[in-house]
């Protein structure tokens, strides 16, 4: 079942941490968070950042093609992520930083399956 809405919950947090080199603040509002639900279309798990493509059907029925990136897969592997974490067709809920320019782009901080199971463990849990 395609989720029918994109839910945006914006939360102001404390000082944000930004991973290096491909600087997160360049593309993302590192002190804000959104939550977006959709259906995975593609996942690539390679450094410097993993990329997850997914479709969201907005409240008006329009399909939005989103891209989400993560921190380094090297770091994520130690949090329980792998190339098999997502497959096309998976329903997911993603929390993360919204793009600076308002495009359908986000930086994942936490990811959940349709049943609420978290993928891997959050930052700082085991590293």
């Amino acid at each position: 079942m395609i989720l029918r809405s994109a839910f945006f919950g914006v939360l102001i947090l404390g000082a944000g941490a930004a991973f290096a080199h491909h600087s997160a603040p360049v593309f993302y509002k590192v002190d804000e968070r959104i939550t977006v639900s959709g259906t995975v279309t593609e996942f690539r798990f390679s450094n410097p950042h993993a990329i997850l493509k997914f479709d969201v059907v907005a409240a008006n029925g329009q399909k939005q093609q989103w891209t989400a990136e993560t921190t380094s897969p090297s770091i994520l592997r130690r949090r329980g992520w792998s190339q098999e974490s997502f497959e096309p067709g998976d329903k997911v809920k993603l929390e993360g930083m919204p793009s600076q320019d308002g495009s359908y782009l986000m930086r994942i901080t936490r990811a959940f399956r349709e049943d609420g199971t978290e993928i891997g463990v959050p930052a700082g849990t085991n590293n």
């Binding site: 930004a18 290096a20 491909h22 360049v26 593309f27 390679s46 891209t67 308002g102 590293n127």
Partner: protein
């Protein structure tokens, strides 16, 4: 002696020599810093109070050194140099710095120099030998060779992201002096140091499972005085992973060209 016995004897002899050579090449010096280390989570000084072990190494910094608050995952925003007096011409040039170019295929997998890479949030693995200490960084697969049997940098050593490093033990502290670094980013916000930068690092165990690392660097071509950082690592039972950077990463975040959120 039959021919087969001669061959067997030669093989056994060669294996023995190899084993001896291997033992000599990798004989540890017993300082305890070898192993896998991941950066301790959370802020580092000056964002928090220093532990006694950290304070002792901070006390080794040159007088007036500016302790930068960007070690670990934190980064300074554009125009913020952590209190370091960056040369005016570089500050002016940094205003036109375009960080989006970092995602260009030609630049995505270009590793930063060790001054930036050592303070990032990635693990390192240290191998301690008699004449060499090797530091393998997970970040961009960088490998540092610390020559423990040399006391000065060779002339005309090629500049690189890892430079030329010589090391010595001062008691239980490994002191590493690095030169011949090619220009690289100071803060990932548009200011580079020059190829005359000089880096001095200290590695010391706070306890069996905590490694404190400091870096102190000077480069009159890019900033005044001395800059410093301090990081703490936790020992782990692991190895650094291959980084195996994919240069096409930037092409995949192409949704920036698409529609915008309402």
């Amino acid at each position: 002696m039959r021919a087969s016995n001669v061959v067997s004897a030669l093989i056994a002899c060669a294996a023995g020599l190899t084993a001896v050579a291997s033992v000599h090449a990798q004989a540890p010096q017993g300082h305890g810093i070898a192993g896998f280390w991941s950066m301790a989570p959370g802020p580092t000084p000056p964002r928090r109070a220093a532990t006694p072990a950290e304070a002792e190494l901070i006390g080794k910094f040159r007088d007036g050194a500016v302790l930068l608050a960007d070690a670990g995952a934190t980064e300074f925003p554009p125009g913020d140099y952590g209190g370091l007096n960056v040369r005016a011409n570089l500050r002016e040039a940094a205003k036109s710095y375009d960080p989006e170019k970092q995602t260009d295929v030609s630049l995505t997998c270009r590793p930063p120099g060790v001054i930036y890479s050592m303070q990032g949030p990635f693990p390192i693995e240290i191998f301690e030998g008699r004449d060499l200490i090797v530091i393998k960084l997970e970040y961009f697969d960088l490998v540092r060779i610390i020559f423990m049997n040399e006391t000065k940098h060779p002339e005309n050593w090629p500049h690189s992201q890892t430079g030329h490093s010589i090391g010595r033990w001062e008691g239980d502290t490994l002191v590493v002096d690095t030169a011949s670094l090619m220009p690289g980013t100071l803060f990932n916000n548009g200011v580079d140091y020059t190829d005359n930068v000089h880096l001095l690092e200290r590695f010391r165990l706070a306890d069996a499972n905590t490694l404190v690392v400091t870096q102190q660097f000077e480069d009159s071509g890019s900033f005044e005085g001395t800059a410093a950082r301090i990081m703490s690592f936790r020992r782990g039972d692991d190895h650094v992973y291959p980084y195996d950077c994919d240069p096409t990463y930037g092409l995949a975040i192409d949704s920036r060209q698409g529609p915008k959120r309402e």
